[in-house]
């Protein structure tokens, strides 16, 4: 066959694949939003869920999702970036590095339910943290670290070596070169990693059922004492997130309007993820601008 014809066929095939993927995603998104949007109201977004009657909301679950995300990021970002910097810039090709890489790879392929059970055993029971946001955040950190480390390492390795050399050749220390020259250039990649891990934190249910718990205590949004059991910002209280809540009412909900609430909660979850993506890309752009004058 003629090279030009093959080229045409390949182009058509790739366009078709792209269109199919877009259509599937778009269809899914429309399905979730169409089924869910009708049930979304101010009450639904702010009120706590009902146990037996119809008409409850998902207010605390939305708050829990964002709060858990914040805690998870607080643990994951410093450790993940630190690990990535170590692997990209400091590790020597020896057995320790090899072992570390192996562990990270194994960790990244662990099923989330296994990580959840590990969390239940260690954080919830052995360390006595109970079903709490804290246990949940630690488990999500374990779950997300491999991705965060890998993406940071790759972003740093992708920084042109000329940039690094230019800095070192002026007598600037390795650490200063990493923080002031390399990290700003690697930032867009690291932001992508952050968004991916955040998306997983939003959507994760299996690992959280056993660690953050499947219920939320009645919250008093006027109580900001982080140690009070009914305070929303107490990290040691149980907290069901949106994703866990959706799973729970779908599988064991006793309320008559369970299906509608699950659909609406799903729509809220998708919108939250979308909102977070846009927000973090925007913040990332601002930081990048500040560091690079681009």
């Amino acid at each position: 066959m003629n090279v030009k014809v093959i080229d045409k066929i390949a182009t058509v095939i790739f366009y078709t694949i792209a269109i199919i993927i877009t259509l599937i995603l778009f269809g899914l998104l429309c399905f979730i939003l169409v089924k869910g949007l009708s049930g979304i109201s101010w009450d639904f977004l702010t009120k706590p869920p009902e146990n037996l009657r119809a008409g409850g909301g998902v207010g605390p679950q939305i708050f829990n999702s964002f709060f858990l995300l914040l805690l998870t990021m607080l643990f994951t970002i410093p450790l993940g970036i630190g690990g990535g910097i170590y692997l990209a810039e400091y590790s020597k090709p020896n057995t320790i590095t090899y072992a570390a890489r192996l562990v990270i790879e194994v960790l990244s392929s662990l099923p989330s339910i296994v990580v959840g059970l590990f969390g239940l055993l260690i954080f919830v029971q052995k360390l006595g943290m109970g079903f709490s946001l804290f246990s949940g955040a630690l488990v999500l950190m374990i779950f997300n670290l491999p991705l965060m480390i890998r993406i940071t390492e790759q972003s740093l390795r992708a920084v042109p070596v000329e940039q690094k050399e230019a800095s070192l050749a002026m007598g600037i220390s390795h650490w200063k070169t990493i923080t002031s020259i390399m990290l700003p250039i690697a930032l867009p990649g690291i932001i992508t990693g952050t968004i991916l891990t955040a998306g997983r934190a939003f959507g994760e249910a299996a690992a959280l059922m056993f660690t953050a718990g499947m219920s939320s205590p009645p919250l008093d949004f006027t109580n900001w004492n982080p140690l009070a059991p009914n305070s929303p910002i107490n990290p040691f209280r149980p907290a069901s997130t949106l994703a866990v809540h959706i799973w729970k009412i779908n599988s064991e909900g006793l309320i008559p309007d369970a299906a509608q609430i699950a659909a609406s909660a799903s729509a809220v979850l998708v919108i939250c993820v979308l909102f977070f993506n846009i927000l973090s890309r925007w913040i990332g752009k601002l930081i990048y601008k500040k560091f690079t004058a681009a």
């Binding site: 800095s167 050749a169 007598g171 600037i172 700003p184 560091f291």
Partner: protein, 262 residues
């Protein structure tokens, strides 16, 4: 190997000197038993075919080969009376005094202003007035000031290739080094930009010792006072540039300059 090193300088005229320098790059012996002296406040050119070791040697002079774990450097590099090829020397101080410019312009992904003051701030200069003065002074020296003075805080990556390379030279001289190492600084540039850089180097030699690696014979002939010809890790011939280009002693030098190989 026939070696003809006719340059022997008074101690006060030596900017940097190597004695019995050997550089191994993995299993490759990249520089063999090299002893040579570089004249202060003048331009010395290193020429030779690709892979002859001239760039490796250049990078050894401010210890940039340290970044490549498989290189090993033995012998002495004498600069300001100390052997800088020593584990215990402070790399920051050496690199502050021996600046470098690469083949591909590599300004930092920052503003023009930040490119120049980045190292200065790191060395502890904080007063804005002093920084501003150094920025203007450095940019004037490389004849870039008039072209960029209105956009000092815009990204350096928006400059043309030739402008970027002049900015890199400005960045290197902003820290007041004694020696400038240039690794084929014009080979990625168009002829007009190259010409500007050559003129600039000619000006700069009043204040700095310049060592330039180049593949461009005419360039070496035009701007340098001394030329060293390398081949397969050996220094073949080192003499005043007019001798190398008009009356070389070693046949290989002549063949290379005449373009018979390389």
């Amino acid at each position: 190997m026939v070696t003809c090193n006719n340059i022997s300088l008074d101690q006060k005229d030596i900017a940097i000197e190597t004695r019995d320098l050997n550089i191994y790059y993995g299993s490759k012996h990249a520089i063999k038993n090299l002893s040579m002296q570089i004249k202060k406040l003048d331009i010395t050119a290193f020429i030779g075919p690709s892979g002859c070791g001239k760039s490796t040697y250049l990078r050894a002079l401010n210890r940039m080969n340290d970044l490549i774990p498989i290189t090993k450097t033995t012998g002495k590099i004498l600069f300001d009376g100390i052997n800088i090829n020593d584990k215990n020397v402070d790399l920051a101080t050496i690199r502050q005094k021996i600046g470098m410019v690469w083949q591909k312009p590599n300004p930092f992904n920052k503003s023009i202003y930040e490119n120049i003051v980045f190292a200065l701030k790191y060395y502890g200069i904080r007063q804005k007035q002093i920084l501003d003065e150094i920025v203007e002074d450095s940019l004037r020296k490389v004849a870039l000031w008039d072209e960029v003075k209105d956009r000092l805080h815009k990204s350096a990556l928006a400059l043309s290739g030739g402008q970027q390379q002049r900015l890199c030279i400005a960045r290197a001289i902003a820290t007041k080094p004694e020696i400038l190492l240039l690794d084929e600084p014009t080979s990625a540039l168009d002829p007009i930009s190259s010409g500007k850089i050559e003129e600039l180097l000619f000006e700069l030699k009043q204040d700095y010792t310049i060592i330039i690696v180049t593949h461009n014979m005419q360039q070496a002939g035009r701007i340098s006072s001394y030329t060293a010809f390398f081949l397969l890790g050996d220094l073949i011939e080192y003499d005043e540039t007019n001798v190398i280009f008009t009356n070389p002693v070693v046949d290989k030098t002549n063949d290379y300059i005449m373009g018979r190989f390389g």
